[in-house]
């Protein structure tokens, strides 16, 4: 039995799969939706069209590290936030700085992080990042004590709407201008 394969139906299948998936779908995931073989280039083209179809709607199709997903357009977040009135707790500066070091210098040990921040790494800080699944241990450095090497996860990229680390602003952007002029 041959499945009906006009473009509109292919797009509908992709749309319903994306809308009902709790995680982003990769191209491989989406290829599995169809009994017959489908080229990745075809999928990309269909996804592009789907993205345009939704342009005037409340949701948008975006690509992140682990695949594609639908999400509410940013202008609606202020309304959606009212559904969950409990106050958002912000991460402390220690947490954000530790995260930034891991993101930009990975893989790094606690020692590397302490070297840059100039203070001991609070284990509570690491725990928050590990629990959020934004960082994980990817190995040990072969020095005395075999310290763990930390790196950022794909989940981190997904949560920040990034496709890869290269989407982060480059480190050079943060070297202060006055210092550069004097060199």
């Amino acid at each position: 039995m041959r499945e009906q394969h006009n473009i509109g139906q292919l797009k509908n299948v992709l749309e319903v799969a994306l809308l009902t998936s709790s995680e982003p779908l990769s191209l491989d995931d989406m290829a599995r939706l169809f009994a017959e073989r489908i080229e990745r280039a075809t999928l990309r083209m269909l996804l592009d069209e789907l993205k345009q179809d939704w342009e005037a709607r409340t949701m948008e199709l975006v690509q992140v590290a682990t695949g594609y997903r639908f999400q509410a357009r940013p202008e609606y977040s202020v309304f959606l936030a009212r559904l969950n009135p409990e106050k958002q707790t912000k991460y402390s500066r220690a947490v954000m700085e530790t995260l930034a070091i891991i993101a930009y210098k990975q893989p790094v040990t606690r020692g590397d992080i302490e070297e840059i921040r100039g203070v001991a790494v609070n284990s509570n800080v690491m725990r928050q990042l590990l629990e959020r699944d934004w960082v994980d241990v990817v190995g040990q450095r072969e020095v005395p004590g075999r310290p763990s090497l930390y790196a950022t996860t794909k989940h981190f990229l997904d949560d920040l709407n990034l496709r890869s680390l290269a989407d982060l602003p480059p480190m050079e952007a943060f070297i202060q201008q006055d210092a550069q002029l004097d060199f």
Partner: protein
């Protein structure tokens, strides 16, 4: 204290008006102390607030101001003072090296402040990067992901796959890769760091991999393959990987560098 009626000169220029936030009432210190993330953060605060040139730090002034904060800190929060005292010692050491006469046989000694400046600038860059990441919209805060309800049906079989398909795909990749050879060099550095993490993660699961298994030639374009290769070299350079080959032309194996 450091506010007097005499004329104040900074690098030969008379200072007519004080920077508006130069003076911090002592009572406010207690609030500020909690806000600092460590000695580097406190030093950066002093340098930026007093408009000091980070590349030409007046060590005596900075050390004096720094010590005033640390003394206050010492009085109210003893357990915090350790890291800060170490920095005090470093600042005083740098100043004392300026005061000592240089032996004639040392031609060009590095500026004793160089290491401190490097650290301050690195920390400042990370601090700004952290602010930037903090401002980015995040899932669960500013991003709401779609999730329509449906009843789970599990009946999907993965598509059949043959060797010919792989050969086709590989030919396609080669063809496509040759069309898309441009990539941004500026961003490669970060991609290499990312791939280093990916490779370490894989080796943690697979223990030992043949060199070629680290490359997904069927899916990755040439730039990505190159980045992957650079990541392997960088990991080997940092001593995190062991790469072995029994004899010439035999398979090359890659594993985590471990003493066990």
């Amino acid at each position: 204290m450091f506010l007097t009626n005499t004329e104040i000169k900074i690098k030969g220029e008379t200072l007519n008006a004080l920077p508006h936030d130069l003076y911090i009432p002592p009572d406010a210190l207690e609030i500020y102390l909690d806000a600092f993330e460590g000695p580097l953060d406190l030093l950066l605060y002093l340098i930026r607030k007093h408009n000091l040139n980070i590349l030409d730090i007046p060590m005596a002034d900075l050390t004096r101001q720094y010590m005033a904060y640390v003394d206050k800190m010492h009085a109210i929060k003893l357990e915090l003072a350790g890291d800060y005292l170490l920095m005090s010692a470093m600042l005083i050491e740098i100043k004392s090296r300026f005061l000592l006469p240089k032996p004639a046989d040392i031609e060009s000694e590095d500026d004793p402040r160089a290491e401190l400046v490097r650290k301050l600038m690195e920390y400042e860059a990370i601090k700004l990067a952290a602010q930037k990441i903090d401002e980015m919209p995040k899932v669960g805060e500013d991003i709401s992901v779609a999730s329509a309800y449906y009843q789970q049906i599990s009946d999907v079989k993965p598509p059949e796959f043959s060797l010919d398909d792989l050969a086709d795909a590989w030919r396609n990749v080669l063809k496509r890769a040759s069309h898309f050879t441009h990539h941004k060099v500026g961003k490669a550095e970060l991609s290499v760091r990312e791939h280093m993490s990916i490779i370490l993660r894989r080796l943690k699961i697979d223990k030992l991999l043949e060199f070629s298994q680290l490359f997904d030639v069927a899916q990755d374009g040439i730039p990505k393959l190159v980045v992957c290769f650079l990541a392997i070299l960088e990991l080997a350079r940092e001593g995190l990987l062991r790469i072995t080959q029994q004899a010439p032309f035999s398979p090359i194996y890659v594993q985590l560098n471990s003493h066990e």
